[in-house]
Symmetry: C2
Subunit: 157 residues, 2 copies
């Protein structure tokens, strides 16, 4: 399948462009699941907390590849599976996700964000973004896996 | 009309909450038009660069009020009009819009963001967010009006 496609833009505004690329509930939750929880395969991503439907997940994975946010490659040990990884463009969404987490936590106190985590986000945002970026590129994530951002932050104290 | 409504949440994740609140192309473009271009009335907002339809604009204005992001009050001089203003919750979306503008400008070079403006955003983000916030609260905006963020930044040099 040719995943390149000319995308009609509504305007030359960079915010409008960003919203056309990622202004979709499910697309950003897929990116979140990769960055926060280290999900890598279709099966991993299907088990999101929000209960994404199979057809929606499949469509969004194609769209995210068309948009240059995800790449797909064969699983290193399981020939039946593919592994999805964030491109540089996808990794550049980390600041946006951190802002969304902070906004959501401030305006909906019931949502699950630890105070300690928010403090970290507040204290050194640029450093935190870089740490998350490197960890995800190495195959880790913020919360789940062997080398998490959370454990790195705790060890650094 | 009673604009309070119980909102069913998909999960306790604060990113998911944020996406349910503002993960919609038109909702965030309305917030952008207020912050960047100082738009205040239904008529102002109808003339967005992306060509929003009348019914979509009307629906989104109700939803943004239900979500506590906008308030509506009578126009001070024109009794036929209402004025829409951002609440604190709405003003807290400024960092997200700046990140979206930066992401869009980086990954779609054709979009309209001046290099100088991106430099400002990069140099002192916290100070810039505060300046935008105060300017919008005083009735101004980033680009349009008497006291713009842009003119304040230029005068400060």
């Amino acid at each position: 399948m040719n995943i390149k496609k000319i995308h009609h833009r509504r305007s030359l505004c960079s915010i409008s462009f960003s919203l056309e690329m990622i202004g979709d509930l499910w697309s950003l939750l897929i990116v979140r699941d990769i960055i926060y929880f280290g999900k890598k395969t279709y099966g991993d991503l299907l088990s999101s907390g929000e209960g994404i439907a199979r057809n929606i997940l499949a469509t969004r994975l194609v769209q995210l590849r068309q948009k240059g946010i995800l790449t797909r490659k064969p699983h290193p040990t399981d020939g039946r599976k593919d592994v999805y990884e964030l491109t540089e463009k996808g990794l550049d969404l980390i600041p946006l996700l951190l802002d969304m987490a902070a906004w959501g936590a401030k305006h909906e106190p019931e949502t699950a964000v630890s105070e300690a985590w928010l403090q970290e986000v507040h204290i050194g945002k640029e450093a935190l973004i870089q740490l998350i970026r490197e960890t995800v590129q190495e195959g880790g994530s913020i919360f789940v896996g062997k080398d998490t951002v959370l454990s790195k932050l705790q060890n650094a104290k």
